[in-house]
Symmetry: C2
Subunit: 237 residues, 2 copies
């Protein structure tokens, strides 16, 4: 298991099994701090390395402040390319070279090692995004564990995650129940659910991966995690 | 004096008069740490609010590690628009709204208050950039003090900084000597010097404002200042 190794704030795979329990308050009254504060919202695109990096830290960060995290799918092919009219990061002169260096620096700093070239053709993010959107609606307890497993298999293990078979295999090896996964991968309404998620994100001003909204305040980029920590500690400013 | 008020790491105008002394070592041997380490390189565009924010902190940050800062002009109209083929920040859907919020949040966090609307037509950055490039070559001791004074009059006081008269007035009020300023504002070679600076920056991979290179390692954005601090403390990783 190389993800998160040496990263003081990065969760390991064993965190996954705890996630569906975190929403429950200790005494069942619903009155403890953890359940009285709204979750923070986190968007990522499966094809975004910086979204993957943030995914390893966002839950622990939120938990330090008694908060849950609501993970949302995003398609930067829609936001960055179509809505904003920009280019893909790795096709942008100067910035592509910078991103390569920044990713390597981040890996060294956090003890990570990506298992795939960031210059290669990215996976098609639609099958994973659609399944994730479907799980969010119909089996929310395993939606984020599914996303984590896909991210890790894609970014760390370098597996191809373009097709349903690969996604089903990843979910199976992560110990997720087959029925809701199979439904998420087969139900054609999943495409509509993903589209609705992306449209809702755009309405809220979300455009990049990772993106976080805390109590209405937007934060873009993995560089903002420290500031989000300060914001949560201070209650904003 | 509102710039840097309440910002624990922000310098005040009184720092300016110290800057030309900082390159001298205490005993004249050239052997102390401050003069044996190369400067870190800092690029900004006068029209970039994030470049202005970084300008308030970069010298103090470097000084904590015994380093000088070599300030360089940049033209994001060349790098972002022409070389990278992107849009101006404030004309980019979604990102413009986000930038407005991020700037206000940064102002509150650092006790700053910009004296101009960030949505208005920016100043023409060429006269200031050309004069700054000329001073860097012909009167380097006052180049950064000139840039600081222009940035503060533009961003905090909301003055128009498009013309030579305004730039000369700003330099005069900042107590800078008239002769090199007048030469910098009148010499037509200043345009070539600025062009050469921007070309050299692009060759080094610089594309945005602020941008910092520490011992060959590039950092883009004011969000990176904390990471630069870590990098300098650790000697890289």
């Amino acid at each position: 298991m190389s993800a998160g190794q040496g990263d003081p704030s990065g969760p390991t795979r064993s965190d996954r099994s705890d996630r569906s329990d975190r929403g429950e308050d200790a005494d069942g009254t619903g009155a403890d701090r953890g359940s009285s504060l709204p979750p923070i919202d986190f968007w990522f695109d499966f094809i975004s390395p910086f979204g993957y990096f943030a995914s390893l830290r966002i839950d622990a960060l939120a938990a330090r402040h008694g908060r849950e995290v609501d993970w949302h799918p995003l398609l930067i092919g829609v936001t960055v390319l179509k809505v904003m009219g920009l280019k893909p990061l790795m096709q942008t002169p100067l910035k592509a070279d910078y991103a390569r260096r920044e990713i390597r620096r981040y890996e060294r700093r956090h003890g990570l090692r990506l298992g795939r070239a960031i210059d290669g053709e990215p996976m098609n993010p639609l099958p994973a995004g659609r399944a994730f959107a479907h799980l969010r609606r119909h089996a929310p307890a395993i939606a984020t564990p599914f996303a984590r497993a896909v991210l890790e298999d894609y970014w760390i293990c370098g597996r191809q995650m373009d097709h349903r078979e690969a996604l089903a295999d990843t979910a199976r090896r992560a110990g997720l129940p087959a029925a809701p996964i199979d439904a998420a991968l087969a139900d054609p309404v999943a495409a509509d659910l993903l589209r609705a998620e992306v449209d809702a994100a755009i309405t809220r001003g979300v455009f990049g991966s990772p993106f976080v909204i805390v109590d209405g305040e937007p934060f873009f980029g993995v560089d903002k995690l420290a500031l989000i920590d300060e914001w949560l500690a201070a209650g904003g400013w």
